[in-house]
């Protein structure tokens, strides 16, 4: 009974993806189920439209930079949380996870009101800053549990073999949290790639990301090009999931 239920639930959870993927290959101008005649014309339309291509490039660049910055900052914060003794630790933790807890629209409004007067709205830097902010709690939470598993005796052993503390950190500590580190980067990458709400406030005509263009089209002209974009998004994000799974399995 329970097994049947679980299988049904998983099918329903995956259903939206199964429905959307074939639609990218339709020959019609609208969505029809099932797709009767296949063609790649919507792929041609996607690649012919500069708006999509530029958006895709911009999304990828922003996602890579903000994922790396967020991972650096989030890892530092997690390290401070795990290894340092200081007053107000719980306040520190609350602040570090606040970008995840505060509703995204409120984050958007807040960033807009700060960014607008100093010219950061509709700018590349502004978007990277905003996406980094949203990635930090993801990294922070992931790395905290990563550092909790580090065997400190290994670090001591490395140092007794002549390694400097910094050397031991990079040679011993980081490799043991490698899978958490990879997960963190991927989490932050996907968070940035998929972000819409804060981006609507912070981006402008010159800084539209792929999801922004998609979002605008979803509200106005729905055609199968959107299914092509959706397919690319699925490939990108699922690719990250698969990488994460591989890294985690290997490190076990």
């Amino acid at each position: 009974m329970l097994y049947v239920y679980c299988i049904l639930l998983i099918i329903i959870m995956i259903l939206p993806a199964l429905v959307i993927i074939p639609q990218a290959f339709t020959s019609l101008n609208y969505f029809q189920f099932p797709v009767e005649e296949y063609s790649t014309k919507w792929f041609d339309k996607f690649f012919a439209n500069e708006q999509w291509i530029v958006g895709l490039e911009r999304s990828l660049i922003i996602a890579v930079i903000s994922a790396l910055v967020a991972t650096a900052l989030g890892t530092m914060a997690a390290l401070a949380m795990n290894k340092l003794e200081f007053k107000g630790k719980s306040i520190f933790m609350s602040i570090m996870i606040s970008p995840m807890v505060v509703p995204v629209v409120v984050v958007g409004v807040a960033l807009y009101t700060t960014f607008a007067p100093i010219g950061l709205t509709n700018s590349f830097v502004g978007l990277v800053l905003a996406h980094t902010l949203l990635g930090i709690p993801m990294v922070f939470v992931t790395m905290m549990s990563g550092f909790a598993n580090v065997n400190e005796n290994l670090e001591l052993a490395a140092m007794s073999m002549g390694s400097t503390p910094i050397g031991a950190f990079f040679k011993v500590t980081l490799p043991t949290v490698r899978s958490s580190l990879v997960s963190s980067i991927l989490f932050a990458f996907v968070t940035s790639l998929d972000e819409v709400v804060v981006t609507t406030f912070v981006s402008g005509a010159n800084t539209k990301t792929l999801t922004m263009v998609m979002w605008e089209n979803m509200r106005t002209t729905i055609d199968p090009t959107l299914a092509v974009v959706a397919l690319f998004m699925i490939i990108l994000t699922m690719g990250m999931y698969i990488i994460k799974e591989i890294v985690e399995t290997k490190s076990k």
Binding site: L9, F31, I97, P103, E152, G162, A168, V190
Partner: protein
């Protein structure tokens, strides 16, 4: 490195006996950097901005005023949206709980690790699919001539296409789809903490499996249910994309009204609504914190 060097170095370690990551963290200067840099980033970009909009919600063109709060707490447009937001969040939370609980239970209780992996993987796949894509998919599925209506008409459950889009139901379905993996994951980690021997003991003592579940496992899982539901509730309060695309103009959620006010340059009203939403979130987090601790940090 000469022998002497190594000697003096290891002597140093024996004196302190502190692992590298501690020493890195504690090295003067570095200590402040790893703590202050991320802290500064979040405080400057988010916390100070939040204080800025808090000020805007009280200070209009003529100085200090409570008008904006009076307006959002009394005008029917705003109170309806507030109630609608809370209602949607309650429905979604309950739906997530009811749907995810049996799956989480099975995944924790399954004898074979592969079953657990498959269930967890299957439910988490959508978690890794772009949220925007999933909402788009639901938009296509629930169209008047979409899959759902075609299925219903094929099985002669209905002869006329049903209007699914632009209803609260459509929003709830897509939000449940998005939040279910969160609920599943945290239920799963809570259930892992429940001692399996207690249920076994109940069985040994002659209880039927159902009794064992209702009298032993279920009560033990209640604190977890409570914490996880509050987390999903908080997350669902802030939804923006799903209601913007799938809901009618008459039953929006707070996020959408905030965005509209921002777009029409009613910044002060948007600021007041933002704080209304934030206060609700913090009250719930406060309640949760009192009973079960911080619900956003995984307990491992």
């Amino acid at each position: 490195m000469s022998k002497e060097n190594i000697k003096s170095f290891s002597g140093d370690i024996n004196a302190h006996g502190v692992p590298a990551s501690h020493r890195i963290a504690k090295a003067t200067g570095l200590k402040w950097v790893i703590m202050l840099l991320p802290l500064l980033f979040v405080v400057v970009s988010l916390i100070i901005s939040l204080l800025g909009i808090l000020k805007r919600s009280f200070v209009g063109t003529d100085g200090f005023t409570l008008d904006y709060y009076v307006k959002i707490l009394t005008e029917p447009l705003y109170t309806t949206v507030l109630l609608n937001t809370l209602k949607t969040a309650v429905i979604v939370t309950i739906a997530c709980l009811l749907l995810a609980y049996p799956a989480a239970y099975l995944s924790v209780r399954a004898k074979k690790p592969i079953v657990r992996r498959l269930i967890t993987g299957g439910i988490l796949i959508p978690y890794w699919m772009s949220m925007l894509v999933r909402i788009f998919a639901w938009q296509i599925i629930m169209q008047t001539n979409g899959v759902l209506n075609q299925l219903l008409m094929f099985f002669h459950i209905t002869d006329e296409p049903i209007q699914f889009l632009y209803t609260t139901g459509a929003v709830c379905v897509s939000m449940t789809h998005i939040l279910l993996p969160y609920m599943f994951l945290s239920l799963q980690s809570n259930m892992e903490g429940i001692d399996e021997n207690l249920s076994t003991a109940a069985l040994v003592m002659g209880a039927r499996p159902a009794r064992g579940f209702v009298d032993v496992f279920l009560p033990l899982s209640v604190p977890g249910i409570f914490a996880d539901s509050l987390m999903v509730f908080v997350l669902s309060l802030g939804f923006y994309i799903a209601p913007a695309l799938l809901d009618g103009a008459n039953n929006q959620m707070m996020s959408n009204l905030i965005e509209q006010n921002m777009n029409s340059f009613n910044t002060n009203l948007a600021a007041a609504m933002s704080f209304e939403l934030l206060v609700i979130v913090f009250v719930i987090l406060g309640i949760a914190f009192k009973f079960v601790g911080n619900i956003f940090v995984p307990k491992r």
